[in-house]
């Protein structure tokens, strides 16, 4: 459809980027009961997603609806995840909460689901906005990125070389956070802090391990590492705690208190942060029910009440933010168990 006879990127009209919204919302509509909401995490058996989905289950039970969970056993099995979307569609659930392995790959299947009158909420990891009704974000990406830099800078006294140990190079959420970290570092108060490298451990314990080793060998003066992934921070902590760098190289990032308790206590790690995954699942479940009940449609500005977590407002592109992450350190870590 072009002059030179070929179809190029320019010919393809950029999608509006607005999320899929259907119908009008009635904030006062009654909360429906007896619904079935399917949770589709990136990977079943992943402790993080399990606690998150457990949160969803609790919320649904409370609301008088049914919970089910399906999902692939590998976090990189995109086609597997697509067929699970299809499975849920076939099973005619009322809504599904999906943590997408890939922003684009699930689209066709999700649109198919929505056209079958199934409400789609993404959580933890988003798809393209037009492929779902709403996205429940664990925390604003900006908050996460900036606070991690702040945490680490404090620990190293605003001075020295730092590095980032991320998950996969394609992990969308990681990349957004890293962008905000870089932005935060532009602040003059970090003028003595230098980000020397971003390494990728692919959320694999061994690879993250070796990447940490590599960072330390390549940059002997490294003062701190940020690892915004639970697998990465755990592996890095394990390596540091068994090496001569223990306590000398600071480590922070996103981790769960149970994973990190030992390293906080033995002095490898001073502090790190995370949101409560159970709350994330909880909110995703309540968003799904609110959508089905017609209390919201996913438009910017709509509000709804999510149990005792309070009232949430839908932001741009149908994004709902869970709130600020919690910082864990030696003082408070024993109060948490997840």
């Amino acid at each position: 459809a072009t002059a030179c006879g070929g179809t190029t990127k320019k010919d393809v009209k950029a999608d509006s980027g607005s999320n899929a919204t259907a119908g009008k919302a009635d904030p006062n509509a009654a909360t429906k009961k007896g619904l079935t909401v399917g949770f589709l995490p990136k990977q079943v058996n992943n402790p993080y997603f399990t606690s998150s989905d457990k949160g969803g289950e609790k919320a649904l039970t409370e609301l008088g609806s049914k919970y089910k969970e399906v999902g692939p056993s590998s976090a990189t099995d995109t086609s597997g995840q697509v067929s699970y979307v299809n499975t849920l569609t076939q099973q005619q659930v009322d809504a599904m909460a999906v943590s997408a392995q890939d922003p684009g790959a699930l689209c066709t299947a999700l649109k198919q689901a929505m056209s079958n009158k199934i409400k789609v909420v993404t959580y933890d990891s988003d798809t393209k906005p037009e492929c779902r009704n709403a996205f429940v974000s664990q925390a604003s990406a900006e908050d996460l990125g900036r606070t991690e830099v702040q945490l680490l800078a404090e620990q190293i006294g605003y001075k020295g070389e730092i590095a980032i140990l991320s998950a996969a190079q394609t992990a969308t959420n990681q990349n957004t956070w890293i962008d905000f970290m870089k932005d935060e570092l532009k602040d003059p108060k970090y003028k003595d802090v230098k980000l020397v490298k971003v390494a990728y451990g692919n959320d694999d314990a061994q690879q993250s391990f070796q990447q940490t080793q590599g960072l330390l060998q390549e940059h002997p003066n490294l003062k701190g590492i940020i690892s915004p992934t639970t697998v990465g921070i755990k592996a890095a902590a394990q390596y540091l705690s068994g090496s001569k760098y223990k306590g000398k190289v600071k480590l922070t990032g996103l981790g769960t208190p149970n994973d990190m308790r030992k390293y906080v206590k033995n002095g490898t790690v001073d502090g790190f942060e995370l949101w409560d995954p159970a709350k994330l699942g909880d909110l995703a479940a309540r968003t799904a029910v609110a959508l089905v009940s017609g209390q919201i449609s996913g438009k910017e500005g709509e509000t709804f009440k999510a149990g005792d977590m309070g009232t949430f407002t839908i932001g741009k592109d149908g994004v709902i933010n869970l709130g600020k992450p919690t910082v864990f350190d030696a003082k408070n870590i024993d109060q948490f168990n997840f």
């Binding site: 990977q43 079943v44 058996n45 992943n46 402790p47 997603f49 399990t50 606690s51 056993s73 590998s74 190079q169 490298k197 971003v198 390494a199 990728y200 314990a205 061994q206 690879q207 391990f209 070796q210 990447q211 080793q213 590599g214 960072l215 330390l216 060998q217 390549e218 002997p220 755990k234 592996a235 394990q238 705690s241 068994g242 090496s243 001569k244 760098y245 149970n258 994973d259 308790r261 030992k262 390293y263 206590k265």
Partner: protein, 346 residues
């Protein structure tokens, strides 16, 4: 699976004269080429980064290789008999978790290691029985048990995980401790390696593993207890995978249901790079161990040289191919040189 093993054609490479046998034998050592590739790689890296061979650096290199060396040693026993065990990754994972669960409940570390080995032996026994009694292709069977063991593991483990905090401090410290630059774990692997190599060379049943991999039909006619030997190979392989699982737990202090998924490819690469031929009958565990060392070191060398993570995978692959190609070319050159010399000697 048929892999055209380094072509048998130029077999007249083998000398008849015995005068220069020592030189020949040194030249013929296939492991030499891999060792050379490894050393070149290490030296280059050290030149690029003086931290690389620091005490901590050496310790890391050895620790990284330990687990793969163990599993590759077991795997080569199986491969030598013209079979393969693809389920080692799953076995490692489930054994590690079993040991972890036991330790979590306040168990004794020694017993935990023992438990892991025992579990590995159990799965090795299953594989071995299926392959030797059923006389069915090992590739299919162990691909099947790869899935089965992993599935059972995931059902059993669910989303639980063992973290360092659940383990006795002594156990975790043992995992990263050592005598100066030499980690304890590496010493264990070395001991296993030496014992296995000695067994293969100097014991009748060891030689029989080579024999039955070299020509199964002839082995049967020679009265070798084929099934028993294959079973043994699998049991040892499983046991070593179990041991590796326990060491993995000590080293990484972290196990869940996905631990060491996809490990079989790494193990197979190590074995193949180490010159153990998939059509059976040849290769040595030293080669496999060197292959393991080479592979894990590539993963340390690139980050140490500051190569961007983006490039690591591609370079890894290219290096792997280079390693086997160099090995092959050196072998061919040496063979033809020997042949010419012998021809001249008449």
């Amino acid at each position: 699976m048929t892999v055209t093993a380094p072509n048998p054609a130029p077999a007249s490479e083998v000398p008849r004269s015995s005068g220069t046998r020592l030189v020949d034998r040194v030249f013929k050592m296939r492991e030499l080429a891999i060792l050379a590739v490894f050393l070149v790689m290490i030296v280059i890296t050290q030149m690029g980064n003086s931290q690389f061979l620091s005490e901590q650096g050496i310790k890391d290199l050895l620790l990284n290789a330990t687990i793969l060396v163990l599993v590759a040693t077991g795997q080569s026993l199986v491969v030598i008999t013209r079979n393969v065990d693809l389920s080692v990754g799953s076995t490692l994972g489930i054994s590690a978790f079993a040991a972890g669960t036991y330790l979590q409940g306040g168990g004794n570390p020694v017993v935990a290691v023992f438990l892991a080995v025992l579990l590995g032996i159990g799965w090795g026994l299953v594989n071995g029985l299926l392959v030797s009694l059923g006389q069915v292709p090992a590739l299919v069977v162990t691909l099947g048990t790869l899935y089965i063991i992993r599935g059972i593991d995931s059902i059993w483990v669910g989303s639980r995980q063992i973290t360092a905090a659940d383990l006795p401090g002594s156990f975790v410290d043992f995992g990263s401790g050592g005598i100066s630059a030499v980690p304890y774990l590496a010493l264990i692997a070395l001991a296993v390696l030496l014992v296995t190599a000695y067994y293969l060379k100097h014991f009748g049943s060891g030689r029989e593993l080579y024999a039955l991999g070299s020509n199964p039909e002839a082995a049967r006619l020679a009265g070798i207890p084929v099934r028993k030997r294959i079973l043994t190979a699998y049991v040892v392989c499983g046991g070593l995978a179990g041991l590796a699982g326990a060491l993995y737990l000590a080293r990484f202090g972290n196990v869940d249901s996905g631990t060491s998924t996809g490990y079989e490819l790494t193990v197979v690469s190590a074995v193949v790079v180490g010159g153990v031929v998939f059509t059976g009958g040849s290769g040595s565990v030293y080669g496999a161990a060197l292959g393991a060392l080479l592979l894990t070191s590539i993963n340390s060398v690139l980050p140490a040289l500051g190569v961007s993570s983006v490039w690591v995978l591609a370079i890894n692959g290219v290096l792997l191919i280079l390693a086997i190609a160099v090995d092959r070319i050196v072998a061919l050159r040496v063979a033809s040189a020997l042949k010419k010399r012998n021809a001249r000697h008449g």
